[in-house]
Symmetry: C2
DNA sequence: AAGTTTAACTTATATAGACGAGTCGTGTCA
DNA sequence: TGACACGACTCGTCTATATAAGTTAAACTT
């Protein structure tokens, strides 16, 4: 492993287990050079990484300061599926059922949205999330077949993202999300236990690979009372 | 301005206006050294920044490649007030009225939430956002008086964040957000033009300074049909 | 006592050079 | 023809050194 990464790991570990206390000042770059027997550039690279990951804050002329634990825990506020957050948040698990799994040709609205040729081969997956005996979330995923080959209903029942990243080795770069309330549709009524709710909260999600190609479009439709979204925005 | 920042700006500009085309390969570090008369370290720092901001993708052994425009536009996914996004998104402006401005002592629920001593002096501000003649958003802010001294109704009518950052020089580190639907309250009915909507979308926002202290808690209450939240999550 | 200068610390920027490591095409050899 | 070695190119890491710029406190001046 690269030397600056080792320094990063060691310092990060010391902050996680409290050897380096929150609010305290780290040794200066010169001191760290000696303790780790590294050049200043290498030490600085480790410190930059620590700051990037939310462990410390550098202050020109003053020093490098350890941030509070609270801030550290949220260091990876990346792309997570909402049902996962949901499950971990409420401490109970969610039952997922694949309600529909089909191969389709991209309809015009989707081709336009994803910048694809109309008729591109896609997978379309409907998954229903059941929580405490009620169907409260409907996820509709569209995947570009060429980019996610070999997707099956069985995989969809577990975690599609695991398959995409671990099995296929695709690297996800970023996702655009939009959240808004929408009128309930016929599909919502069919799949979900809606009671009297007339609206659903819809999260649309466009996910892109590193090369810049979009491989997924998803709509996650939540019953009003079971919707929650948490987020940490860092400056 | 720092030299690596200048190089960054020039390259970024060339990518935005299409001089450097998407998917194309940037000149090698050695070439850039000569064109910008800089050392390799400086050129690399500019390239790292470009990658961090989503302009390019570096490939060990191959080169640095320009990403597609789409990815560039969303480079800043920081903390922005929702009304700002709202206004820029719809291309029209929002009228803000300060409906209430008072100094209070932190009630127990707030003291607990913000980890303050009960009775801490606070400002409480209610602001109503009017869009196309209808009051559709109600913002209720609570600020710690010690951390945001000298706040006035006049300032609240403009931008409180500007005051906090520019005038007071406070550095905002991160914000925790939560979005959920809630039943309409009496206050909502009083301040907003709710029509028949029985629910509002509530964004709660806890904002922290670099030292880790929380200086603000805000609830932003949106009429269902006027709520929208956009976001880009980067890995 | 109050303001100013200075010195000593901190991090930030820039340079130059060396070597490591991944990629790709070309030429050689079997 | 096919496998392999090599060279030339790319970015990645590390070192060493110099100078700039922000911060702080002590020393100095008024």
């Amino acid at each position: 492993m690269a030397k600056y990464r080792q320094i990063y790991e060691q310092l990060a570990e010391q902050m996680r287990n409290g050897v380096l206390e929150a609010e305290s000042k780290l040794p200066s770059e010169t001191e760290l050079m000696h303790t780790y027997e590294a050049s200043r550039g290498t030490v600085r690279k480790a410190l930059d990484l620590l700051q990037e990951h939310g462990y410390v804050r550098k202050h020109h002329g003053k020093g490098v300061f350890v941030l509070r634990r609270e801030q550290i825990e949220f260091q990876f506020n990346g792309i997570v599926s909402f049902s996962e957050v949901y499950a971990s948040m409420l401490g109970r698990s969610i039952q997922t059922t694949v309600a529909s799994f089909e191969e389709i040709e991209a309809p015009p609205w989707l081709a336009e949205r994803m910048d694809l040729k109309p008729g591109t081969a896609m997978y379309r997956v409907e998954r229903v999330r059941n929580f405490d005996g009620e169907n409260v979330i409907l996820d509709v995923n569209y995947f570009v077949k060429d980019l996610v080959p070999g997707l099956t209903k069985q995989i969809a029942e577990r975690s599609i993202y695991e398959y995409v990243e671990r099995e296929l080795g695709l690297q996800i770069s970023y996702a655009k999300r939009k959240i808004a309330a929408e009128d309930v549709t016929a599909l919502d009524r069919m799949r979900l236990d809606l009671h009297d709710y007339e609206y659903v909260i819809v999260i649309t999600n466009d996910t892109f690979l590193y090369e810049g190609r979009q491989f997924e479009y998803t709509e996650s439709r939540h019953r009003l009372d079971k919707f929650q979204f948490s987020d940490v925005a860092r400056r």
